[in-house]
Symmetry: C2
Subunit: 337 residues, 2 copies
């Protein structure tokens, strides 16, 4: 395989750090790596394969000769620079929500809709972190039993709000232990010892954008425009893995055993389901792992005719929920269909 020129836009963020770790660990075929960030990070260096690489400024001209550009610098930066990167010949794999709802931009989870990736025109969108983690369990069940409706309540780690928010949780906990008053700056309210049911902007229908992402992105990735879906997204004082409580309704009857069998066969998924033996996934235990984990599978007793399931899904927000899925999209392009 030829060696690529790869760029990371937003290299100094929480997802940026995860890109560096995964590209090295997975032996992505990199000949040259360009690290890009906003002007205030220029001058810093980041370690990759034992070398300290300089961070340079994210500008429209930064993408000459770049093959794959991983963007995780926020929606406005993607809006501003991804088209220039694509015009310069790079394939942009964008972790922001800027292009996800554009019909011309594929939205891809490689285990679910890999074929969509090859329809790109220079930009491929990486789905929302909670959407990726949820759909990893939901898509194989949809294929087997025909998903009619999905109800989601999330338990989202602070990593999803970025490196400064992660530092804020850590600082609040230190201050609490030291008996100091707690400072709230990067989250709408105190996050230590609290949960916050508002992530991203409130929409006209009173859902947040984070909640609507699950609806919009779920329909697009599953190619299921009629999917009935609703979400409540909640931030919890956990550092880096998201959990989701799901109630699903299907067109076909489903049992716990048949669901477990479908989930066990699904790629990228690991079943941990023996609650009497304390076997079920939790955020602390899955952090740093590549798979998405499923447990607490139950036949939903509130759905008639055995057509419902309740389950619990957990995945690393920074890995499969962000950088890993993006890197897997790049690997998919390299591998070809």
């Amino acid at each position: 395989m030829s060696q690529l020129h790869v760029a990371i836009a937003g290299a100094t963020g929480a997802v940026g750090a995860e890109f560096l770790r995964l590209l090295e660990k997975r032996e992505y075929p990199i000949g040259r790596l360009t690290l890009l960030a906003s002007r205030r990070s220029v001058g810093r260096t980041l370690r990759f394969r034992g070398e300290d690489l300089p961070v340079t400024e994210l500008t429209p001209d930064a993408f000459r000769g770049v093959d794959h550009a991983f963007f995780s610098a926020g929606g406005s930066q993607s809006q501003a620079f991804a088209p220039a990167a694509a015009a310069a010949g790079a394939v942009v794999i964008d972790n922001s929500s800027a292009f996800r709802y554009d019909d011309e931009v594929p939205l891809v989870i490689p285990e679910i809709n890999p074929e969509d990736a090859f329809r790109h025109h220079g930009i491929i969108a990486n789905p929302n972190c909670t959407t990726i983690i949820t759909l990893m369990a939901l898509a194989p069940l949809h294929r087997a039993f025909g998903l009619r409706r999905a109800i989601s309540s999330s338990y989202q780690a602070i990593s999803g709000a970025g490196a400064q928010a992660m530092a804020e949780l850590e600082r609040q906990v230190h201050d609490w232990v030291a008996g100091r008053s707690l400072e709230v700056k990067h989250q709408p309210k105190q996050i230590a010892f609290n949960v916050i049911p508002r992530i991203d902007a409130v929409q006209d229908n009173f859902y947040t954008k984070e909640e609507m992402k699950f609806v919009w992105e779920g329909r697009k990735i599953l190619h299921h425009a009629e999917l009935a879906a609703t979400a409540t997204c909640v931030r919890v004082p956990v550092f880096r893995s998201h959990a989701v409580s799901l109630n699903l309704e299907f067109t076909k009857p489903v049992t716990r055993d048949r669901a477990l069998s479908v989930l066990r066969d699904a790629p990228g998924l690991a079943v941990q389901d023996d609650p009497t033996a304390e076997i079920y996934p939790t955020p602390i235990e899955v952090s740093g792992k590549n798979e998405v984990f499923v447990g607490r599978v139950r036949e939903d007793i509130s759905v008639p005719d055995g057509r419902g399931l309740a389950l619990w899904v957990v995945g690393d927000q920074l890995a499969k929920g962000a950088a890993l899925n993006a890197v897997q999209i790049g690997e998919l392009l390299l591998r070809g269909r």
Copy 2:
């Protein structure tokens, strides 16, 4: 009002402390207060109205002359001693699940089904903490729009697992800040910076008992045997207030505005719902408050014909979720129908 002889069984626990605080604050008409606990707590004293009262041993003979006995010493202690207390002439208000599903024992939330309290035969059961908090919002909506199905995912504070579990969260956080390894003893897994989707024993249908309590108790309190209900109960690293994400389906159409109007008129409930202005309840903000708080009210976009709602409910687990509701039952008996 004549002065009562009141007993608290389980006086040294987290709910016991809340009983002492509330009985004093609400000027419960107490002439004599007997504090009962297991043998290992005998010799301790607890403060009430400026006096240090001795803790004595919980035995079948401890209830002679007692008018109201508040029990919060765990299910097995209630099983062992509540019948003796009732036989001695006390009215037992029991915070455990021991008698909740007994047809002869009323299960009461004073704002919802006060009339049931007067059918007691010596024992009245206090509902599960999460059930109380959830039903405070759900009951008025049921009366207005006819509840067909309720889907709940909870965010439950560690106070629900008792004083030792609260101390464990605190110790884990101190150890984490100090860079020491974390000890797990009173919870199935690490609770600091984690969430745990298993509360109480796993049942034959793979739901936990905590989850089934919502189903069983909801039907009994609402006198609604056909209610379709499902729950996923999750412990979060929060000290003392529970939150619940609810998706509700009704027989009649409902709008956000009509739902808000019903909720604003409901006793014991406070609406905090302006998410763009960061107005929604969180556990830290409602701790120590008597009301149950509701916010994030949305018309559920996944339910056809405008018959669904999504909402977020938060209440103090130790107050309205336990001791306050029990004290209110006692006050209801004193007031009469």
